[in-house]
Symmetry: C2
Subunit: 356 residues, 2 copies
C-alpha cells in the first residue's frame, strides 16, 4: 500500500510503499479516507518536533485521520463503520495513564504519538488500531472526520480551563483565541455558542480569508501588530477566557494582562527555549490579586473525541467549506503540504467513502 512518510535526513514528505498491516488481537483494520495536515506535521517534517519509530528509517506522517473499518477482526465494530483514531499509544505495554483512559495526561517517555513521535501515523491506505482507540462517528461526518482530532484538542483545553474555575461561580462572556490558523478558527467556531463576545488575534492584514471567516463567525479580528496581547484589555475588553494557539511564548505571559479578574488562559502552543524579560513581579501580583490562572494543555482522549464529534456535527456548512481549502489525492499529495496565505486547512484523501 502507499503511505506518506518523512525519511531520516530529509525535510519533505515522500510517497513510500509499505505492506498493508495485519490487525493483531483486539485491533481492527481501517481503510483510510482522509488525513488532515496541521502545524505539527510541518514541525515534524522540518525536524523541529517528534521522532522516528525505533529502528526505522522513516516516519509515516498524519495524526488527524478518519477511516472506515475494513476488517473488524473480532472487535465490536462492523465492517463499514466510520471511525477516527486517537493519537497516543503506550510504548511498552500499558501504563497507568492509558489504563484509565487518560493517555493525554501521560508524561514524556510514557507515550508514542502516531505520526509525531515514536510511532507511524495514519497517512497510509490502511492502518490498524486497538479497538479502544477508535471512535465511531456518524457516516454523515465521514468527509470531515479529519477535523475531529484538532477539535478534540480544544475540547480538552476548554475542559481543563473550565475545571480550573469550577470552585466558584464563573460566567464567562468574553474570549479571545490567539492565532488564526486552522486550530484557532476551529476553536472560535467551538466557542461561539458559549461566549457573548469572541475575538481572534492574528498577524494578517486585510483582505484575508481567515479574517473573513472570523467575522462571519461573529467574532472580532484583532491585528496583533496593532494591538499586542497585553493591550487587549484596554483596547477591547478584559477577556474571561484566553485560548493560546500560537506557540509564541510572550503571548502566554501577556495573557495574564489580557484576562479579566478570575479569568483563565489555556496554553497550547509548544515553543522552544527563548529568554526574554518580563515584569514578573506585576504578573505574579496580578495572577494572585485577581484569582487568575494559566493552564497548559496537550493532546486529548476518547471523551474529547466524542465531544468533538458532536461539535463537528453542529458546525455551519459554510464554515467548513471555507476552512478546508484543499483535499488532495495521493497523486497530488504535495499540494496538501503547501502552507501559504491562501491555505487554511488541507487533507490528503486516501480513498472514497461509499454510502452504505
Amino acid at each position: 500500500m502507499r503511505a506518506i512518510a518523512v525519511k531520516r535526513g530529509e525535510n519533505k514528505p515522500s510517497l513510500v510503499e509499505k505492506p498493508r498491516p495485519s490487525p493483531g488481537p483486539g485491533e481492527a483494520l481501517v481503510r483510510t479516507l482522509r488525513v488532515g495536515v496541521d502545524g505539527t506535521d510541518h514541525e515534524v517534517i522540518s525536524g523541529g518536533h517528534g521522532d522516528y519509530p525505533e529502528g526505522e528509517d522513516h516516519l509515516v506522517l498524519g495524526h488527524e485521520a478518519v477511516g472506515v473499518v475494513e476488517d473488524p477482526n473480532g472487535t465490536g465494530f462492523e465492517r463499514g463503520d466510520v471511525v477516527v483514531p486517537t493519537v497516543r499509544r503506550a510504548p511498552n505495554g500499558e501504563n497507568e495513564y492509558f489504563e484509565r483512559g487518560e493517555p493525554d495526561m501521560a508524561p514524556s517517555g510514557e507515550y508514542h504519538e502516531r505520526g509525531i513521535v515514536g510511532a507511524h501515523g495514519f497517512m497510509a491506505e490502511y492502518f490498524t488500531s486497538p479497538e479502544e482507540y477508535l471512535v465511531r462517528i456518524p457516516d454523515s461526518l465521514a468527509s470531515l472526520g479529519f477535523l475531529i482530532e484538532p477539535l478534540s484538542i480544544s475540547e480538552k483545553a476548554v475542559e481543563l480551563a473550565y475545571a480550573s474555575r469550577s470552585s466558584f461561580t464563573w460566567e464567562p462572556e468574553s474570549t479571545i483565541v490567539l492565532g488564526n490558523g486552522s486550530l484557532g478558527l476551529l476553536t472560535v467556531a467551538l466557542l461561539r455558542e458559549d461566549f457573548d463576545r469572541l475575538y481572534c488575534l492574528g498577524r494578517r492584514e486585510r483582505p484575508d480569508p481567515t479574517i473573513e471567516i472570523i467575522e462571519e463567525l461573529g467574532a472580532t479580528y484583532v491585528n496583533s501588530r496593532k494591538t499586542p496581547v497585553d493591550e487587549l484589555a484596554d483596547v477591547y475588553e478584559p477577556m474571561h477566557f484566553v485560548y493560546e494557539a500560537t506557540g509564541y511564548a510572550k503571548h502566554a505571559f501577556e495573557s495574564v494582562d489580557a484576562l479579566a479578574p478570575n479569568g483563565v488562559a489555556a496554553l497550547l502552543g509548544v515553543p522552544g527555549p527563548w529568554e526574554f524579560e518580563v515584569d514578573g513581579g506585576s504578573l505574579h501580583r496580578e495572577l494572585v490579586l485577581h484569582n487568575k490562572a494559566l493552564v497548559g494543555s496537550v493532546n486529548s482522549h476518547v471523551k474529547h473525541f466524542e465531544a468533538a464529534t458532536g461539535t463537528l456535527a453542529e458546525l455551519p456548512p459554510w464554515f467548513v467549506d471555507s476552512l478546508v481549502t484543499g483535499v488532495h489525492g495521493l497523486d497530488d499529495f504535495e499540494a496538501a503540504f503547501v502552507d501559504d496565505d491562501t491555505t487554511i486547512k488541507t487533507a490528503v484523501q486516501f480513498s472514497e467513502h461509499e454510502e452504505r
Copy 2:
C-alpha cells in the same frame, strides 16, 4: 474603647481611643478576644499595601480576629458565641460577588478589606459585623481562633488548585510550601494529611525554630540558598503541588520547573513590579506538554473559614504552641509587631474568654 491603628503619615502602630461601635440592623456587636499579626499587617504599616478608610486619618489594623458576641442585636447568634469575622466587605451596598457569598472573587474596587484597605480592622476592644460575615466556632477554639483567617486563605488556595486538576485523575503525593513564615507553616500542617511527602522551603540556617517545626510535622526543610526552586525536581523530586507564599516573583515562574507532570502551583504572594529575564519559551512549553497549571488565589469566604475551623481543631497542640510565639496584651501591644528570627506568629489580646 481602645484600638490599635496606623495613622496617616506614620509607619508604626499606635494605641488610639475610639467610641464603641453600635451594631446596625443585621449586625452583631462582638467583644474582641485576640487578633493575629501577619505579613500583610507589616505591609500595611509600612505603607506598601492597603489604604485608609475614606475621609479617615487612621486605619484600625487587624484582619485575623476572634471574638465573643456581646450583643446579638436580633441576629441568629447568642450572647457568648465565639465567632471569627471574614475580612471583605462591599464598599457601596452589595455587589454580585458578595450577594453570592464569594467576596473573595470580587475584583479591585469592589471590596474593602477590614484592617487592610478602605475599612477599619478588628484590633479594637469591640467591633460590629453583619451576621453573614461572622463564622461561629467552638468555644474550645476561642484562644486560637485568630489562626482561622490565615488557614482559610490556604483552604481556598488548595480548593482552587484541586479544582484545576478535577477534570482528570489526579493523585498527588508530593508537595512543597515555599515560605516558612506562619502562613507557610500553617499550610504544611494543613497539607500533612493529604500528601505522602512534604517539603517546606525557606532561607533560614539551622538552628531555627521554624525548621524544627517543619521537621516535627514530618516535612523536609529545603534551604533555598542551597537548592533554588528550579532545581527542586532534580535534587529532591518533582512536586505535584507547589504552594507559593513568599511573594518572591521568580519563585512563581520557577515553580513550573519544580512541578511534576500534571502538577499545579497555587500562587499567594503579592510582589510589586520587578522586571527579570526568564526562559519564557521553555516555561511555556513545559506548561503545555505536561499539562501544568499556575493558579493565583487571594482572600477566602465563609466556606473556607468553616473548613479552616475544622482544620484548626485537628492541629496538634505542640504545633500551635510552637507556632504562636507571643500573645501580648494592650499594655504591651508593640511586642506583637516585632518581627525577628525568634518570632513566628503573634497576636494581641483584647479581652479574656470566660467559660460559659
